[in-house]
Symmetry: C2
Subunit: 197 residues, 2 copies
């Protein structure tokens, strides 16, 4: 018998269902929890419940939020004329971390993917188009893969007639990336997008 | 602003407090949870609560269990004359997985460690000695480090007068371990413990 308790096995199952967590790590987490006090467990389980209860999508940008519209959409210091289009809420966080961007966001919640049967109607494109009234620039910050390219192209075509500046993140050698270990596709893109210094 | 929701931040904090989980992984887990249905969340949080409520230490072997004594201590097919001494409950699982051991266990819940101020009174040694009435062999399966050695030596000395066979796990080259990449201490131990074939 591997586990002498169903309760232990259930928690191991729960942790192991999370992304990138194998059963060994899930076991270690469970045994760690068993050594914590009741307060820790209560806090953990009530935080999980609150997550689902309190967090909803912002009716404007579709980012996760507890107040609607979200603090970024209503932020006094945000540039309301620029929208950065991202795939998922965690991409918003990745960009916010840089501290370099002060405009608004729009979360698509997916990318167009013919292979995975995700069509334009399945992601928040209509909602984006509806927001473009006072917008002067749309920045695409989608993954640099086929789905990201298709989605960028598709939405750009819809926006083109509206006379809005359309940009996307630069592609090239990552900072502190070594040329020797950079893949060919990235080097050729960096070469064709070279800038004068 | 990094998180647009306190509830998200709280769950990220909870996951990040688990062993070997950094904030990035904790974030990924939290965003994964947000995409799951209410049933998944309910199951997760109630499993956590049940863990602490249902799981206790077996009054006999000190392993985690829901029924006391635990299923191993009361198991009909277990050899009740052998006790395997381990540090933590997960060590029991590691040994059970082999399917090679059919005796009883005793979980010490720690190892003697002068450096970390863990003295013999802090771990379940008295409880072990009290169980040795009908025992014919005690197997030490503790970590192969200084704390493991000290603890094995300390308990062995206590058991010696009782005329019980005392053994410990063999040390040597791990299975499918390459000699070239095995550390010197392990090689010298394997050399001095060599067996005739």
């Amino acid at each position: 018998m591997l586990y002498t308790s169903d309760s232990i096995e259930q928690v191991v199952d729960c942790f192991a269902s999370l992304p990138s967590i194998g059963r060994k790590t899930a076991q270690r987490m469970t045994y760690f929890l068993l050594k914590q006090d009741q307060e820790y467990i209560d806090n953990f389980s009530s935080s999980l419940q609150k997550l689902k209860k309190n967090v909803k999508l912002c009716s404007c940008c579709n980012n996760y939020t507890e107040v609607d519209p979200c603090p970024i959409c209503t932020g006094k210091n945000r540039d309301k004329s620029t929208i950065c289009v991202v795939e998922e809420p965690n991409d918003v966080m990745a960009i916010e971390k840089t501290g370099e961007y002060h405009g608004l966001y729009h979360v698509l919640h997916g990318l167009i993917s013919p292979l995975n049967n995700v069509s334009p109607q399945d992601i928040k494109i209509t909602e984006l188009i509806a927001r473009l009234g006072d917008i002067s620039e749309v920045i695409f910050a989608l993954n640099a893969d086929i789905e990201g390219e298709i989605t960028t192209q598709y939405i750009s075509k819809l926006i083109k007639p509206l006379d809005i500046k359309i940009t996307r993140l630069a592609r090239g050698i990552p900072m502190s990336g070594e040329l020797e270990f950079t893949d060919e596709a990235t080097i050729s893109r960096a070469l064709s997008s070279r800038i004068s210094i």
